[in-house]
Amino acid sequence: MAESALQARRELDPLPLIEGRHDDGTLNKTLLDYVWQRPQPGWLTLFFIGMGGTGLLLAGIAVTLAKGIGMWGNNIPVAWAFGIINFVWWIGIGHAGTLISAILLLFQQKWRTSINRFAEAMTLFAVMQAGLFPVLHLGRPWFAYWLFPYPSTNSIWPQFKSPLMWDVFAVSTYFTTSLLFWYLGLIPDLASLRDASAKRSTRFIYGVFAIGWRGSARHWHHYKIAYLLLAGLATPLVLSVHTIVSWDFALSILPGWHTTIFPPYFVAGAVFSGFAMVLTLMVPARRFLKLKHVITLRHLEAMSKVMLLTGLIVAYGYLMEHFIAWYSGDEFESHVFFQTRARGPYRGIYYLMIFCNIVVPQSFWFPWARRNVFYLWIASVLINVGMWCERFVIVVTSLHQDFIPANWAMYYPTWVDFSLLFGTIAFFGTLFLLFLKYLPAVAATELKELRHELEHEWLEGAKR
């Protein structure tokens, strides 16, 4: 009776979290075994493309360090361009990981379980790309250590009223928190890999990283609370980090930058582009790694709903910026929003941003769009292109035409700018491929717990 009742219950559920009948054994096999397989040809080609791109990134970095920021397209007045755009874009993408693993844990959203490891890894690698730029875009990167408050022989301290100092603390705290949160969640899985692998050498490697975890009840007792606390701390942290990143612009006096809408609008934008990147990576990953049974349409649909929500907040952000510019009657503000952005030389990027960030997410109102995997992938790529354009519009258009018309000037990127942008994307991809290959993409421990819980819950339901 239990079997048929279980079956009946499943049809009633909207979309199952775990498809098909599974128990710990099958979960272990599907989630952990591919770690031992030899790398498939698909993975290898992608990996080598990634390594090529990383080479391009290293070339861009070497040229920038050797000759100077002049190799980029930056000039006066547009002193910030690709360097800061990429930084904000990557840190924005990173935030989705923490959102899924921390905020959804606090909201006890069950669908987070199978995608939280995946998203956290993406956070880590995105923050690594983001962390590259605050040092690389410095004029004298070899003095970057002055940004940290150490007692120096010239007895002078950093200046803590500057948003860039807050950035230094925010990004380093965020990276540390994400790393520790990710590793804590990974320890039980590493122990499973240590015990499940056949070859002694792989057992030794995973054994080292599992630092002797044996799943003792006394440890689980502290583990649950520690994991919950880290999630609890990571939630305000992720909101504060992107608020501080938005303060890099909001605390200036430039028209188009110093609007108070920036913090919520940037955080929503970050979550929006973060979910899009999760989707972009997840759709191909779930197909090649055969994880369709754990990352079901329910997860993709839930994510597209979140993207719809945050997309609307971003759209609201644009609307409010334009309204305040008009309402405030400040001639500099209205010039930036209604002349420079809409009709200036960079209007093409402005309209591309409008299309990708506002028009594309509206399609998620319709179930066929939320459930069509191929469409979701295309939409997620477009959204990330749109978010990059949004940062470009914010940074470059406000700088290249501001208060005094005599110093208005055009900005043109150079090959080094593009090599850094596509180089970081390739490096991000390489890291992600390594993660997919050598670590379980889905948190096997939490999934077994979820399966047990679902079944247990269902059995109670059936009994009553």
């Binding site: 150490y150 007692p151 022989t153 007895s155 057992r203 054994g207 630092i211 002797g212």
Partner: protein
């Protein structure tokens, strides 16, 4: 019945972690901070050899020649200046005029080529120190250059780092002395703070800590 790791692995794991932490924290952070304060970097107490064996102990100590006789620019120019060869020959034309030790001096004078001295108290090129104002406000030579009259070869006495200069710029009364005692090597007031405060008002000393005082 072989476990994956041997019992000894526990201690070796813990030791490696501790060593890593020390190496990372100490090596990367504390190491450079100690190095830049050590004499290796500040080049203090490191006598610099010169093309001519000029011995301050003899000239300042025994003969009691005032600093400003040779370093004549000190009261009217930013740099104290090293004496032209003609000043050396004011005395050494008569005495020691055959000594081989002074051959480079005589040769420089007659060939009209300057003696290439090695600088001891070096400041970075972006720091603009002015001797004349410091002497005017009552800062003695010994405060920054140390007991020159006891040095065979001149060496750097103080680190001359920005932090060191700021100590005096922040409360000068700990170092001021009457203008007549500027070149005295052994001046020791009974109560330096009282004297300092009195001189501070008398000489209208208002030291500035704004950056363009020294960096322009």
């Amino acid at each position: 019945m072989s476990a994956l790791f041997k019992p000894g692995a526990n201690t070796s794991f813990r030791v490696t972690l501790v060593v890593l932490a020390l190496l990372l924290g100490g090596g990367l952070v504390a190491g450079p901070m100690i190095y830049v304060r050590s004499p290796y970097f500040t080049q203090q107490q490191d006598p610099v050899d010169q093309p001519v064996q000029f011995d301050h102990r003899h000239h300042v100590g025994d003969e009691g020649i005032d600093c400003r006789y040779c370093h004549s620019l000190v009261e009217k120019a930013p740099n104290a200046g090293v004496p032209p060869t003609s000043v050396c020959l004011n005395c050494h034309e008569q005495i020691w005029n055959k000594s081989p030790k002074l051959a480079p001096v005589r040769e420089s004078y007659f060939a009209d080529r300057p003696i290439v001295w090695n600088k001891v108290n070096k400041l970075p090129h972006f720091v603009y120190f002015n001797h004349s104002i410091h002497l005017k406000q009552g800062v003695g030579c010994v405060t920054c250059h140390g007991r020159i009259d006891e040095m065979a070869l001149v060496e750097k006495a103080q680190p001359l780092t920005m932090g060191w200069c700021l100590e005096c710029h922040r409360n000068p009364e700990r170092f001021l002395r009457p203008r007549e005692e500027i070149t005295s090597m052994t001046f020791r007031p009974r109560d330096q703070l009282a004297l300092g405060r009195a001189l501070k008002d008398q000489y209208h000393v208002h030291t500035r800590v704004s950056c363009t005082t020294c960096h322009r």
